[in-house]
C-alpha cells in the first residue's frame, strides 16, 4: 500500500486554453491539406470551419470552467485533437469515394455527431454534479447494460450489418447499443466491486506464490465469463466480448490488488477463445485470417483481404506518411470506420500514428491518475474502469488492424466514423472529468464549501461506509 502526496494542482484553466489552440490548429490544418489535395480548397469554407471549431472549443472550455473548474486540463484538448485529425481523414475518404462514383457524406454527418457528442458532454456535466450519485444506480445500471447488450438479438429491432448483430434500427437510423452498455457496465462493476471488494480479496489457498480466491467467490467471474461467451456466440462480436471481459478483469484487479484474478481471467479467456475457434466456424475463420493473412488462398477467398490491404497501406505510408489527402486509404474496405487507423497510418506515417497513440496514452493516464487522486472507492473504480474501457478498445482495434491479435470489429474512440461511439465516448470523457474535478479539488475549499455537494451531505447512503 502506498500513499501519494497531494500534488500542486495548476490553478485556473490557462494550460487547457493553450492546448486547445494547438488542437484547433491541428484540426484546421488537417482539413486544409485534405481540401487542397482534393482540389477543393476554398478559403471561405475553411474559414467557417476554423471559426466553428474555435467556437466549439471555446464553448467546451467555458463549460468546464463553470461546471468542473478543478477538473483535468489535458483531457479536452487531447480529445479535440483526435477528433480534428479524424474529421479531416473522414472527409478525405468522402472525396476518394466520390472519385470512384460512390456518393457518401460521412464527413458532414460525423461533424453533426461531434456536435451532438459535445452537447451530451455538457449535459452529463450539468446533470451529474457528483459522481457518487451513480452508486445508487449500481444494479439498475447493471441490468440496463445487459438489456442494451441483448437488444440487437430482439427480432424486429436488431439489424445485422456486415455479419455482426450489434445494431438496432430506429427508423432509418441504426444505433449500436453496446457502446452505451459499456459505460453502464463500468458503473455497475464499480458499485458492485466497491461493496464486495473485501470478499473477493479475502485469503484463499496459496498457489505458486499467488493467493487464489476462494471457490465460492469465483461466482461473479463465472457469470461474467458466461455473459461474454454469450455475446460472442450470439452476436458474433468478438471485440465486444473481449472488451466486456477485459474491463471486468481489470476492475477486479484494481479493487483487490490480486494478480491471481488477472491470471485466472486470462487463462479462462484463452481457453474460451480457443474453444470458440474450434466450435464456431466464423470465429475460426477470423483466426485463420489472422495467422495466415498472407496466404494466397486465404487472401483470395476474401477473408484477409481487408487486413492485408490495410497493412500494405500502412507500409506505403512509411515513416512520415504520404501526406493527408495524398494516399490511397480508400482501397481498404471500411477505411472510415474499422480501418481508420490504417488510413491514418498510411497518410501520417509511423510518426503520426505514434502521436495519435500517445494521445490515447495521455487520455488513459489522466483517467488512472484521477483514480489515484479521488478520495472515494467508487470514484476510483469508476475512473479506472473507464480508463480500461478506452485502453482495451484502442488495443483491440489497433492490435487487430496491425495484425497483433485477431481482427474484431470495434470502433476506435473519437477517430472512427460512427455516431453511437462518438456519443458514448464523449459521455465517458465527461464522467472522467467529473471525477477528476472532485479528485483535484483542494481539500480546504472542499471543506469550506460543503454546499457544492449537498446531495452527499443529506444522503447517508452516499457515505463511503454505511453505518453498522
Amino acid at each position: 500500500m502506498a500513499t501519494i502526496s497531494e500534488l500542486r494542482v495548476h490553478r485556473g484553466r490557462r494550460a487547457e486554453a493553450w492546448l486547445l489552440v494547438l488542437a484547433w490548429a491541428i484540426a484546421v490544418l488537417a482539413r486544409g491539406l485534405v481540401d487542397y489535395h482534393a482540389d477543393f480548397l476554398e478559403l471561405d469554407e475553411l474559414g467557417w470551419y476554423a471559426l466553428g471549431a474555435a467556437g466549439l472549443a471555446a464553448v467546451l472550455h467555458v463549460a468546464l470552467r463553470v461546471l468542473a473548474p478543478d477538473s483535468d486540463q489535458v483531457v479536452l484538448p487531447t480529445v479535440l485533437g483526435l477528433i480534428g485529425v479524424s474529421l479531416a481523414e473522414i472527409r478525405r475518404l468522402d472525396f476518394a469515394y466520390a472519385d470512384r462514383g460512390r456518393d457518401t457524406d460521412f464527413g458532414d454527418s460525423q461533424i453533426g455527431w461531434v456536435l451532438l457528442g459535445a452537447l451530451a458532454f455538457i449535459v452529463v456535466l450539468v446533470v451529474i454534479r457528483d459522481h457518487r450519485v451513480l452508486r445508487r444506480f449500481t444494479y439498475t445500471a447493471g441490468i440496463l447494460g445487459i438489456i442494451l447488450y441483448l437488444l440487437p438479438a430482439v427480432p424486429g429491432l436488431g439489424r445485422e450489418i456486415n455479419g455482426a448483430k450489434i445494431w438496432i434500427g430506429i427508423g432509418s437510423h441504426s444505433l449500436q447499443p453496446g457502446e452505451f452498455a459499456k459505460i453502464l457496465l463500468v458503473v455497475f462493476f464499480a458499485g458492485y466491486l466497491q461493496t464486495n471488494r473485501d470478499a473477493l480479496a479475502l485469503a484463499g489457498p496459496k498457489f505458486l506464490g499467488m493467493r487464489l480466491p476462494r471457490m465460492r467467490d469465483m461466482g461473479p467471474l463465472a457469470v461474467m465469463f458466461a455473459a461474454a461467451l454469450l455475446i460472442m456466440i450470439d452476436q458474433r462480436d468478438l471485440g465486444a466480448a473481449l472488451l466486456f471481459f477485459g474491463i471486468f478483469i481489470g476492475m477486479v484487479y484494481v479493487a483487490t490488488q490480486r494478480v491471481s484474478w488477472v491470471v485466472i481471467g486470462l487463462v479462462m479467456f484463452i481457453v474460451g477463445a480457443v474453444a470458440a475457434g474450434i466450435a464456431f466456424p466464423h470465429v475460426g475463420a477470423r483466426y485463420d485470417a489472422w495467422l495466415h493473412a498472407m496466404d494466397p488462398d486465404v487472401y483470395s477467398s476474401g477473408r484477409s483481404e481487408q487486413l492485408v490491404r490495410g497493412l500494405f497501406g500502412m507500409a506505403s505510408g512509411g515513416l512520415f506518411g504520404t501526406g493527408l489527402g495524398n494516399g490511397r486509404p480508400d482501397l481498404v474496405p471500411y477505411a472510415e470506420s474499422d480501418f481508420i487507423i490504417a488510413s491514418l497510418g498510411e497518410e501520417l506515417g509511423l510518426t503520426g500514428l505514434m502521436a495519435i497513440l500517445t494521445l490515447y496514452v495521455i487520455l488513459v493516464q489522466r483517467a488512472m491518475r484521477t483514480a489515484i487522486g479521488v478520495r472515494d472507492g467508487f470514484g476510483k473504480l469508476l475512473s479506472a474502469g473507464l480508463g480500461f474501457a478506452i485502453t482495451l478498445q484502442v488495443f483491440i482495434i489497433v492490435g487487430g488492424v496491425t495484425r497483433l491479435i485477431p481482427l474484431t470489429g470495434l470502433t476506435t474512440p473519437f477517430l472512427a466514423y460512427g455516431g453511437s461511439s462518438m456519443l458514448a465516448n464523449w459521455i465517458v470523457v465527461a464522467l472522467i472529468l467529473r471525477i477528476s474535478d472532485q479528485a483535484r479539488r483542494p481539500a480546504v475549499r472542499a471543506e469550506a464549501k460543503p454546499e457544492t455537494t449537498p446531495a452527499a451531505r443529506r444522503r447517508p447512503d452516499l457515505e463511503e461506509e454505511p453505518a453498522e
Binding site: 500500500m1 501519494i4 502526496s5 490544418l29 510518426t351
Partner: protein, 173 residues
C-alpha cells in the same frame, strides 16, 4: 502551391501533432514527477516522526482508509505514538497528543480502519493520569488487549498491543 511547400506543410502537420502531445506531457510533468510516494507495510514496523508527518500531508490512498489529518496536531505535546503493526494500514502511525483518539470505520474517526470486523465507532483511546486508556465503544466484534476483551476503560501501556479485527495497534514512546 509548390511541391516544396506542400512537403513542408505535410511535415509541419506532424510537427504540430507532436507539439500537442509534448505540450500536454509538459503540463503533466509536475504530476508525473512531482508526487511523493510513501510506501507502507513490507514488514517495516519502526517509523520515524518524519514519516508520520509525510503521512499527515498525504492524501489517503484509499477512500476512508488512512489517518484523518488535522485531528491530531504534531504541535501538541506528544506522548509517543500509536503504530499499526498489522492489517490493511500496517506501517501507519498516529502521533498521540492531548486529544482522545477514535478508532472505527466511520470517516469521522481519527484512525479509519476498513475491515469487516471493525465497527463504525469501535474503540476510543484517551489520556488519563499521565497514561493512556483504551475503551470499547460497544463494538460488535470486540477490542482485545492481549488476550483480554476490553470493555470498560483499561490502562494501555507502552508496548501493549490492541487487536481490532485484522488490525493490531501498538503504543510506542
Amino acid at each position: 502551391m509548390s511541391q516544396l511547400s506542400i512537403t513542408l506543410l505535410r511535415l509541419g502537420f506532424l510537427l504540430l501533432l507532436w507539439s500537442l502531445v509534448l505540450t500536454a506531457i509538459a503540463v503533466l510533468r509536475s504530476d508525473l514527477y512531482g508526487t511523493r510516494v510513501v510506501t507502507r507495510g513490507r514488514g517495516r514496523t519502526a517509523r520515524t516522526r518524519d514519516d508520520a508527518r509525510a503521512q499527515k500531508q498525504a492524501a489517503p490512498s484509499r477512500a476512508g482508509t488512512g489517518i484523518r489529518t488535522g485531528a491530531v496536531s504534531t504541535k501538541e505535546r506528544t506522548q509517543g505514538h500509536l503504530a499499526v503493526t498489522s492489517g490493511p494500514l500496517k506501517g501507519a502511525t498516529v502521533p498521540l497528543g492531548a486529544a482522545p483518539i477514535l478508532v472505527g470505520r466511520a470517516p469521522t474517526c481519527t484512525l479509519v480502519i476498513e475491515d469487516d470486523y471493525c465497527s463504525s465507532r469501535h474503540c476510543r483511546i484517551f489520556p488519563e493520569d499521565d497514561g493512556w486508556r483504551v475503551e470499547d465503544l460497544g463494538s460488535t466484534n470486540g477490542t482485545y488487549l492481549g488476550n483480554q476483551r476490553v470493555d470498560d476503560p483499561v490502562p494501555f501501556r507502552e508496548g501493549d498491543v490492541i487487536r481490532i479485527g485484522a488490525t493490531s495497534l501498538e503504543l510506542r514512546s
